[in-house]
Symmetry: C2
Subunit: 315 residues, 2 copies
Amino acid sequence: MENEETKTVPKSWAMVGGDGPRSYAQNSSYQRGLLDVANELMNEGIKDKLDFKIPCSDSSNICTFRIADFGCSVGPNTFFAVEKIIEAVEQKYQACQFQNSPPLEFQVFFNDVTANDFNTLFKTLPSYRKYFAAGVPGTFYGRLFPKSTLHLAYSSYSLHWLSKVPQEVVDTKSPAWNKGSIQCSGTAKEVAKAYSAQFKTDMDNFLNARAQEIIGGGLMVIIIAGLPDGILVSQTVAGIFNDFFGSCLVDMAKLVSIVFNFSRDINGLQKANTGIIVIVKLAGWHQLGTTCPLPLGHLATCLAPLSFAWMLAYK
Amino acid sequence: MENEETKTVPKSWAMVGGDGPRSYAQNSSYQRGLLDVANELMNEGIKDKLDFKIPCSDSSNICTFRIADFGCSVGPNTFFAVEKIIEAVEQKYQACQFQNSPPLEFQVFFNDVTANDFNTLFKTLPSYRKYFAAGVPGTFYGRLFPKSTLHLAYSSYSLHWLSKVPQEVVDTKSPAWNKGSIQCSGTAKEVAKAYSAQFKTDMDNFLNARAQEIIGGGLMVIIIAGLPDGILVSQTVAGIFNDFFGSCLVDMAKLVSIVFNFSRDINGLQKANTGIIVIVKLAGWHQLGTTCPLPLGHLATCLAPLSFAWMLAYK
């Protein structure tokens, strides 16, 4: 089931597995904080837009509701997110008070690249979960599920990881050469253009794949880092951090393994997909001072990247 | 979604992971041979019994065919099996020549205990497979999938691994104490009775769980080791091997981690499940001399355990 897009992905990198001091599991409280903030948006979207005729459309009186987390890493954040989603779906279901309601069963698919530590993910699954769990290996820039089989897709802080480094930025002869920097600071226009083009290609592949997999009437939630117009990465906390420690990180990563983009082009992509997707919710917030889920008080004069949460409804 | 049965499973053991010299991946040619022999049975069952109205029953003109391998370990055998199943299903589908046939998409679930090496399983998935892959961690003696969502269940050389050692056989004060032996040789009636009771409980849990998960009209293939009436384990290749090396294995396994039963009681279980399951095919064969998929010529005077292949159709 590989397609052209997935074949072009040269290699995939995963978060650090296991549960040691350097693992993603022990270093993802920032992403956990974002989930808390996005939770309200998810609840509203599920309450307003979810149609229970979808999972229960057949005549067998059986309802299976399928959720997928794209770019789940190894938890525990993905487990919190799934729990919140299921709570919201169950509340809506109970509020509907269907006559002779069939029992609702949940199947949850945890997706990440093949190199992800699925062994740890599986071993740390909550013991008394309310769902049937499955792991799905592979890049989310290609198809991962049969057509029209998912009811709710979720992706949090994953889509800034591009499928590959744009060739131009590591080509010393190209005008887009990034001079060995690990980030797209925004100051060099050709570099920004190369990253932007890659992001557009990747997001288009992501949205097209999900458009086939999500059942008509289904929902998708995307939480992603972004920047408002006029703000450069180099003015953000992450940008300043990278300026300080960039050369060390380059040595550690051997230059080409950092593939990261703060998106500013997502609205353009939405226009290209209006035949399939309608955006029903869009929220953005600064992470500054007391509103920030991280203890960033000592950097309060710096802008953290904006975080956006999207709720998309599928026709 | 845990039930009473799964909660009583004290611990699960998996095959040796990775692809090293002691791994299951490098030491499963015997099981590979069984698949070749069982293939004809599978083809016949799929050809005769499979109804394509099942995966394509909705009005959306989309067909998803779901396959699950229960006790898949880490391959490559599970990949061969899935390939054979898909070939047979596709042949049947093409032979039917439906008008305006919707494209058939396959979703394959690889199940084994949580301790299984899913990382290796995922990394060795065939690159150009014809299906969407997922891993499902957990004991197959409990529910693993939502109701009525599987079309074909498969389990090869897995169901002889019981969920636990019967307590009596390791209790020195019990008449069923097995005197430290790692096998149920069949000579001590109380020991055989204890193993038989555990097997009945486990198989009942397995069949009941699958009966809920497999869609009406679906199929299940079971390949399992067994013994004909009158033959003792101690007369088989495995029995002789265990007699020779049993004490060493006990030391290696620290006594209690060998949970293995050559089944002879499966017919009784079928009777208890006639409301749900109809056996449409049952085949057994000796693995002797030239008919044996292993080079057992030097042990040709010994009976290997019988291997049975079952095809079950769900009402």
